[in-house]
């Protein structure tokens, strides 16, 4: 038995092969066994792309470790390939010397052809550098289940648990968590519970008796901060952050949304929790999604809308309206590959400028971004807090990578944090109240229908100072544009100062934002270990930026901005602070690898 500090495993197969489930089981079991984990589900946009083709390959990569894990890993050391297409799609990314488990039953001439091979894949691909384990996973699964009163198709469907069982043996995983899951899931259909349980155990036993697995591995418990942990993905954390924000503000939560990949899971999750006073409204389109939310906000709810780039494009006009109304609202953009329909199931950070500026007129908006799956809880709460305390719409940026990726989350103590949001109810009596009278931070108050004497009308036409009545006065218009901008900038007094990882001065400052934190953090950590004078500034508050950001730049010789777009944050920073930052950019629909960042930063260091 060999001890490993960390290992990356990729489960890969046809869309219908159950690879997402298999990967999730492996991750959850590892987390329960005390490993740090990070996951990366990678699946096609089509629900069932043509079976057996490379386009239909669905993968789930998990990185487990005995020390800090922040990304799903650059290169898998183990690949489970359930068919030729899975081998073709993934082989080039597998680490040399790694292990490849193949389901030989699927390596037929027909399947090879579908995957685009002109002959036997095992001959065509050079597999000399890998340990190849050939297993007849499908037939062995059906053989193990032969006595069960199930049709062959259903038996064959259990093959993913057989494959999972093999990996459980290889990595000394406990079966208990998965057995419990199977029983919970199939409790009402005992025959399916038995079939999957048997398949899992059969796979494990097969691996144990198979001499082809020369070595098994153990990944010891990670040295993680004490506390109670659970595994969480970004979309669930986002949903929960909003529920907590509504509780902290003493308001009901309203979500107006239209289904879109990869944001729909927030709608699904919130729809489960109506007992928290949550109302979810699946609207007829993206525009109605945000418009119902603005209506709910006017009526006094903590309101939000969730979407991704194409949907945000449709919401633009209504976002501007919420801005000029000065009503609290959160707009979540789970970014995906663009432009247009782009790469729906892939990740990217290319909607930054869209969210900052993608509206007509001077339309400033608070923009924040979550850095990792669990941080989505924090930032959903923060987005809500800023919207309510500053009476303005706030954009929360996450992305497909952290939305679907999971990690262990040390559960917060809600009696100590995430428990206070102040709501700007009018303090003045109705006779002296004006809808657009402001406090020192330019924040107006929120009177809602039902409040006697505060009847007022809001509109999208320009408003007169204080009263909010329609005004076409040129100077008033300019004043109002300045006030709305100032209001957004004053929110910088209500956000934490920017943190810096590393020394306060040095040769290179790496800037990143949003969902790339895991990779930039690990890359900078590695370079610092090697003695380089590199620090990391990872931004979560984008507009306004923390007050100390400008002063941080001054102490570094060079600045490089790493982001998954063609340089949108770099453009903002260079425009705002004139720092001549360079960029490291990638738009492949894929997250950063640590190794590519290390190389890029080294090059910049010279």
């Amino acid at each position: 038995m060999q001890e490993l500090d960390s290992v990356v495993i990729r489960f890969s197969g046809d869309s219908g092969d159950g690879m997402q489930l298999t990967g999730t089981q492996f991750s959850n079991t590892s987390a329960l066994m005390g490993n740090d984990i990070a996951t990366f589900p990678d699946f096609p946009a089509e629900i069932r792309a043509p079976a057996g083709t490379v386009a239909g390959v669905s993968g789930f990569q998990v990185h487990i470790g005995a020390s800090e894990i922040n990304t799903p890993g650059d290169e898998p050391q183990v690949l489970v390939a359930m068919n030729p297409a899975a081998l073709k799609a993934n082989l080039q990314s597998v680490k040399k010397g790694g292990t490849i488990i193949l389901n030989m039953d699927a390596f037929t001439e027909n399947n090879a052809q579908k995957a685009g091979y002109s002959g036997d894949p095992l001959q065509i691909e050079n597999l000399d550098d890998y340990l190849v384990i050939k297993a007849h996973i499908t037939t062995q699964t059906t053989e193990a289940l032969k006595d069960l009163d199930l049709d062959n198709k259903s038996k064959a469907r259990c093959k993913n648990f057989y494959a999972l069982g093999m990996t459980y043996f290889m990595f000394n995983r406990e079966l208990e968590p998965t057995l419990k899951w199977i029983n919970d899931k199939f409790g009402k259909k005992p025959i399916l519970a038995e079939a999957n349980t048997t398949a899992l155990k059969a796979g494990r036993n097969f691996a144990e008796t198979l001499e082809a697995i020369p070595n098994t591995f153990v990944v010891p418990k990670a040295n993680i901060e004490k506390g109670t942990y659970r595994s969480i993905n970004g979309n669930t954390a986002t949903a929960w952050g909003f529920i907590q924000a509504a509780q902290a503000a003493g308001l009901d939560l309203f979500l107006g949304s239209y289904p879109i990949t990869p944001a729909s899971d927030i709608l699904h999750e919130l729809s489960k929790h109506k007992n928290f006073g949550v109302k979810t409204f699946q609207a007829e389109d993206e525009i109605a999604g945000i418009c119902t939310a603005i209506g709910a906000s006017y009526a006094g709810a903590l309101a939000l809308t969730t979407s991704s780039g194409p949907g945000i494009a449709l919401k633009g006009e209504a976002m501007g309206l919420a801005m000029i109304y000065e009503l609290p609202l959160v707009i979540v953009n789970v970014q995906r590959g663009g432009p247009s329909t782009g790469l729906p199931t892939k990740t990217e950070q290319s909607d930054l400028l869209q969210c900052m500026y993608g509206r007509n007129g001077e339309s400033p908006m608070i923009v924040v971004a979550a850095s990792r799956p669990a941080d989505c809880f924090d930032m959903a709460f923060e987005a809500s807090r800023l919207a309510l305390e500053h009476m303005t719409p706030v954009v929360l940026l996450t992305d497909g990578y952290i939305a679907n990726g999971a990690e262990p989350w040390k559960l917060p103590d809600l009696s100590k944090e995430f428990n206070k949001i102040s709501v700007k109810k009018p303090k003045k009596d109705a006779d002296n109240w004006l809808a657009y009278e402001r406090d020192e931070n330019q924040v107006r108050t929120w009177a809602i229908p039902g409040m006697e004497g505060y009847e007022h009308r809001l509109g999208g036409l320009e408003k007169a100072l204080n009263t909010g009545n329609v005004s076409y006065d040129p100077n008033n218009h300019e004043t109002m544009c300045h006030i709305r901008e100032e209001k957004v900038q004053k929110a910088s007094l209500n956000i934490p100062l920017q943190e810096l990882e590393g020394d306060e001065s040095g040769d290179l400052l790496v800037v990143s934002w949003g969902g790339t934190y895991g990779a930039t953090h690990m890359a900078v950590k590695q370079l610092r270990k090697e003695g380089h004078k590199v620090s990391l500034m990872h931004l979560k508050y984008i507009n306004p930026m923390p007050r100390n950001v400008e002063s941080i730049f001054k102490n570094f010789k060079k600045v490089i901005v790493a982001e998954l777009n063609l340089g949108q944050m770099r453009q903002i920073l260079n425009g705002k602070y004139n720092i001549g930052a360079k960029g490291y950019n990638k738009v492949q629909g894929l997250p950063f690898k640590i190794s590519e960042l290390v190389e890029a930063f080294k090059q910049e260091l010279g």
Binding site: N275, A318, L458
Partner: protein, 335 residues
């Protein structure tokens, strides 16, 4: 419910100057609605007017209640959010033929489908006013406008057919020249639980003057409109001697006393009959009068009640939400 104060019409007049063109049909509708508000038994602070974009959409600024002037075509969506959040509110949507049937057509059919308890007044003048005179989805084919100098080639919508097709539970037609009728219909709409759609024939004096004249002019109105009432025979005409008769599957105009026709031969209005409503919706001149009044009204579940009821049901079943419990649900582990 607490006791409601008695209001006069002036209580619903805001301090904003009304800026419609002199002679515009909107003035009469505004006045009728303000009168109706004194009688609906709702407190001022519990009333919200919501509009989109267009001449009629300035309406909320002029009514001294809560109000939202929103973006083009989307008023039903905003109203849906308001009503879902606070079902106690009386929510009124003001829209026009361009706002409601063109850019906002999608939201209109979906609020009707969901049957959210709001009152929609659709000002139909068969023209775009605020953008200065282009044809609308209700303009008749051939209409010459700024954007159709050789005549419109579009076929037009009949709002009543669209509404009934979309599953509306209340559709009524009224007109700017009959304030009493307008007021009665508004009250009936408020009383109806579910989405009430009122189509108001409204005259645009600038861009489409007299478009509804045949039906709305006091001199010709009685011979070209049949004012229908539930349970009553369909009689119309200056001399109250014409009626609507169903022959086979077709509606026809007959004269009482001619060819042996008596009142008993006339069609009696049943506002719950969807097929009849659809036939009435399609009646138009010159052969047939247009139907004015409540064409269709049925009771059905309404969304705003359901969305709140579901929250209560889940609370009763699972207990009020406890965030700590949620965080610790499923698999957790101690380090």
């Amino acid at each position: 419910m607490t006791e409601n104060p008695t209001y006069k019409k002036k209580d619903f007049v805001s301090d904003q100057e009304v800026r419609w063109c002199p002679g515009c049909g909107d003035y009469a509708i505004l006045s009728s609605v303000q009168m109706a508000l004194t009688k609906i038994g709702k407190k001022k602070e519990d009333i919200v007017f919501v509009s989109g974009i267009g001449c009629s959409s300035r309406f909320p600024y002029y009514v001294n209640t809560y109000g939202l002037h929103t973006i083009h075509g989307r008023a039903p969506a905003f109203a849906s959010g308001i009503k879902s959040t606070n079902p106690n509110l009386s929510v009124w949507i003001i829209t026009g033929d361009g706002d409601g049937l063109s850019i906002g057509g999608n939201h209109l059919i979906h609020i009707l489908r969901r049957n959210i308890d709001c009152n929609i007044i659709l000002f139909n003048n068969e023209i775009y006013g605020l953008t200065k005179g282009q044809y609308s989805p209700t303009s008749q084919r051939g209409l010459v406008t700024k954007s159709t100098p050789y005549g419109s080639i579009d076929r037009s919508f009949t709002p009543a057919k669209l509404a009934i097709g979309a599953g509306a539970t209340f559709f009524a037609r009224t007109m700017d020249t009959d304030p009493k009728h307008m007021q009665d219909i508004s009250l009936a709409a408020e009383e109806h639980r579910g989405t009430s759609l009122i189509e108001a024939y409204q005259n645009c004096v600038i861009f489409n003057d007299g478009v509804h004249d045949l039906y709305t002019n006091r001199k010709t109105r009685d011979d070209h409109c049949v004012f229908i009432e539930h349970g009553q025979p369909m009689i119309f005409g200056k001399d109250k001697n014409k009626g609507i008769k169903l022959t086979g599957s077709k509606l026809e105009v007959v004269t009482i006393g001619e060819n042996g026709v008596t009142e008993a031969d006339l069609l009696v209005h049943d506002q719950t009959d969807e097929r009849l409503a659809f036939m009435l919706a399609g009646m138009k001149g010159p052969e047939l009068p247009v139907a004015v009044g409540i064409l269709y009204k049925v009771d059905d579940v309404h969304y705003d009640e359901q969305i709140c009821a579901q929250v209560e049901e889940v609370k009763a079943k699972k207990g009020a939400g406890d965030m700590n419990k949620l965080l610790h649900s499923g698999d957790t582990w101690e380090i």
